[in-house]
């Protein structure tokens, strides 16, 4: 498989996409529309960062499985563990205040 079909699109997607995503965060933070003084805006920032990593991990595992670097089962298992950890962490983080 040529590099142009394996990791180049991935690097381009999260490189250029990451620049746009990062500039989105910087602009909204600088403009004050994403206001970190507010608790629920801090939660939103975490969700936004989580979303970016979530898609990055998903595509990376998929690539590895497609290229048979990881077996399909291992990739799916890692994905499930990743989801379980992040969602559990996220749930406790986001509801910590409500429980307190």
């Amino acid at each position: 498989m040529p590099f142009s079909h394996t990791w180049l699109p991935y690097i381009y997607l999260y490189g250029v996409g990451g620049l746009l995503f990062g500039s989105g965060l910087i602009i909204t933070l600088k403009s004050g529309s994403l206001d970190l003084k507010r608790q629920h805006h801090r939660n939103w920032l975490l969700i936004l960062l989580y979303g970016f990593i979530y898609f990055m991990v998903m595509h990376a595992l998929w690539n590895l499985a497609a290229l048979e670097i990881l077996s399909l089962k291992t990739s799916v298992l890692i994905w499930i563990v990743f989801m379980a950890i992040t969602l559990t962490f996220g749930y406790f983080k986001l509801t910590k205040k409500a429980r307190a």
């Binding site: 142009s4 079909h5 991935y10 997607l13 602009i27 998929w62 497609a66």
Partner: protein, 709 residues
Amino acid sequence: MEQVGEITFHSIGSTTVWVVMIVYFAIVMLFGTYFGRYTRSTTDFFFGGRRFSWWLITMSIVATGVGSHSFVKYSAKGFEHGLSSTMTYINDWFFVPFFLFGWLPIIVYSKVRSIPEYFEKRFSPSSRFIATILLLVYMIGYIGIGFLTLGKAMIPLLPESFALFGANLPVTLMGVITVIAVITGIYITFGGQTAVIFTDLMQGFILLFAGLLLFFFGITYLGGFQAFWDILPVSWRMPLADFNKPPSFNFAGIFWQDGIAGSIGFLFMNQGLLMRFMACKSVDEGRKAAAMNILFVLPISAIVVGNAGWIGKAISIVTPDIVSPASSPDQIFVVVASIIMGSPVLFGFVMAALTAALMSTVDTLINATSAIFVNDVYRPIKGFVSKKLLNLKETDRRELGVARIASMGITALGVLAVIPFNRFPTVYEAHGYFHSTLTPPLVVAIFLGVFWKKFTPAAVITTFLGGVALMLLGAQYPGVLIAPFDHGITLNPSHPYTYIRALYNLVVCAGVAVFSVWSGGLQHKFVKWVRRLPNTNMIMAMVTSILSIIYTVIILSFFINFATMTPILVAIIFSILILPLVVNYYVVGYDPETHTKGLVASSIEDARRFFKGSEPNDSESEKIKVQYKIVPGEEDEIRFSKADMQTMAANPGDLVYLCDKRKWLGGLKSLHSAYGKPHDEKGIVYINEEHSKVGIFAKGKILIAEKEF
């Protein structure tokens, strides 16, 4: 247009399939008609009364997003290129910060009903006029794509011709689309946004179910997931397409066309989608709906819409006599469903879900386009022609009538828009070309309008006209102008740079915008100097005439091709230099402070203040349970006890949301109002007769009240 050597299908559906489809459609239409009774005003008709919970909107967006031609076009690309057909569903996160904390709060809090209205508030009436034209073209084009897909999905089920009164009538694509358009128009015309939201909610669930059911049957047919995975060649398992080949499906082109222009277009300028978010009970609920949709629903949807193509490809490898590798890609969904579902009832159900979902997309777009028509064409014209003042009820009644007639007209234009799109090999390419070409000027204008305070009316109008002129030139000379952006993608002479042209178009529009803002100081100096001249008006009239001639020549040269590139390019550059001067001369009264207050990302607090009419109250509060009591009065305020007000940390004048306690209703029975003077009956809220009608509250049911801000 069918490709040479492609195998096309007819008469796949049996009578049972048709019966199942008709029953399904009848149920959907009854469902829509039932919820249509909740439409009491134009606000309800277009925005569903701003009352719904995030989960309901998330699911109703499924039918709008997924239904939109996705089954046909992604199955086609899945069949041609494998699992990378999913990439367009998994590249939308990059612009989410801009949307959630920029555009969404602005459109809700500034109370604009349409995107062109935003342009008037942020820039000038002339900007609104041009934005309206561009947006209507975009929306009608989108409707055309929807109709084309519907037609392509239905054709394989129909015979090649049928006999009527002794005459043999051929079944044509346009004939099928016309019949579908008539059916589609019915419940949107009489239902409105609430009907659409609830119909889409039902269809959202059914679509996901039907798509996953198809995947399950397909995988079972092939002997399990591992067998399916092993059948696919490695290149077909990749989640992203090859970087720059083939021209009909490559990563770089699709990244710029879909991931950038498409994502901003879908989130920022798809009026149908925006109206869904505006129907959420609050901005935060809209954020949740968008985030949940992109994070979880879209990846599932990617499997739902593309799997028929992947299964078809796998079958074509194992048993090419069952599914030929030469099958028409746009028909592969129907073909695969008919093979693997086994029972005609299940096949009928899947086909009904597909076609009904496509209709959902189309009806949402028709509803949204008619909102733009009423708001940005009818109202301004009516205000100009007739000065007669009507009361609010009479105005609302008339506008509702206009909205319904507009829906019919827009449906007809959507059918006509099918003709140019049908020239592309697949719906995917037609849609890709459409997005690359029509979204960039508006995308750039909205984006810079929201995030760049210095963006002026002169800059936005120059972006629209100068940007479009450079785009037309690019379309005419792709080998010269678009080639530098092509990322190594080969130019296909019959459809040059279908996707990557989006990058060129975005760059030229953004370039024109930046230049216009950068040269703003010089423009003002020049206009001041011109104003001091004795015959200013005549000079500016002459300059305007020259500009009009230049733009006429540019448009004519695009269609007739009577000039070479260089003189046209020089003329466009000249127009980009002159146009801001003309706009600055004629557009007077633009004040950067007042025209950006509450309308750019850096002044969302101002927008909240404008929305509420006073200072927002963001003190921490709790929700309370109450029962309602109807009291006489006409004021739009509801009254709680002092103790309840204290629990909610609310003051008179703050905004409140009152909702039926039953969460599964998703906010259908709810209302927004303001707190009135407190009383002493704890646990009781005083509302008037109108509130009870708007909220559709049931007697004896407990309500939940929460402070907005």
